[in-house]
Symmetry: C2
Subunit: 157 residues, 2 copies
DNA sequence: ATAACTGCAAAAGGTTTGCAGTGAT
DNA sequence: ATCACTGCAAACCTTTTGCAGTTAT
């Protein structure tokens, strides 16, 4: 199903309305190529000639997430970022602590082991997060290998 | 090295001071058995007959984290939780969306695959986060299998 | 003596909400 | 005609910070 139709479907099921704002947000979110924050999105909308209040962004994004069209990534300190997920499959992220770059990765094997751990612990998984922090190729080089000591955010969840 | 000594060492290296507040915080944090938030910690301290301002907690916890005695887990929206890590080794977490229970797990194999992914992407890892969300044994039962639809927080990082 | 530390209260910064008017169904 | 939606501004909540006085080194 086409993304717009899928969102319309989601909305009608919940007796919610397809407003101009939601249409525009959806359109621009889908057009976005990478990961973006709420600020970025508002800026993208502005450049596209649309005005949508932050409140509406904050109210609409959860619907896009719940309808499965967008994924939410929580970075440190509650700075959420989002990424369109239409026509993509699951992946996780590496975040460069130097330049902020987000690198995607996927591993069938890790997913499989994860399922196994859940079975073993009788845990019914509905979702997961796997974020690796460190330095990307370019930044690790500039700082020298393993610079900076232990990750101050080690083990963050 | 004993935990208190290790923290003292960390502090002196950084020319920071071992104050009464830091001593008490360290002591109670180490005594804590599970995961706790800043509120919890202040309450624990109060019950132990100590008064420490929230500001001092917020100023001291990062030092405990950096010295490796405590790990920080970021849950959604900047609600940080902490856990003492003395005499323990690395593990990750499952969080029950129903009762909030945190279940620990560890998988050498997952860690190994993770390292491999990093090598492949030329990423120099300093730390990682692997959180699984869903329902624990008890809660999954009460709700019936796979209740509640897709994880609204799917893919959160 | 010097710097770091503490508590307090104010500020920050992202996100949420009450309200009154607007608009999709 | 409903009832959800919107923008605005105020409220929220956790975390951070400036300040003036205190304390470890």
């Amino acid at each position: 199903m086409h993304a717009a139709a899928r969102f319309a479907d989601y909305l009608s099921r919940k007796r919610l309305k397809m407003t101009r704002e939601r249409r525009v947000i959806l359109e621009q979110v889908l057009a976005a190529r990478g990961h973006f924050g709420v600020d970025d999105l508002q800026e993208i909308l502005r450049k596209a000639g649309h005005t949508v209040s932050r409140a509406s962004l904050y109210r609409t994004l959860p619907h896009l997430v719940e309808s499965g069209l967008v994924h939410k990534l929580e970075m440190a300190k509650g700075q959420a970022r989002y990424e369109p997920m239409v026509g993509r499959h699951h992946h996780d992220h590496m975040v460069c602590l130097e330049c902020g770059k987000i690198i995607e990765f996927e591993s069938r094997e890790i997913e499989r082991l994860q399922d196994r751990v859940c079975r073993r612990k009788r845990f019914s998984m509905t979702g997961h997060t796997h974020q690796i922090r460190g330095y990307c190729d370019g930044c690790a080089g500039r700082r020298g290998p393993r610079a900076g000591g232990p990750d101050p955010q080690a083990h963050r969840v």
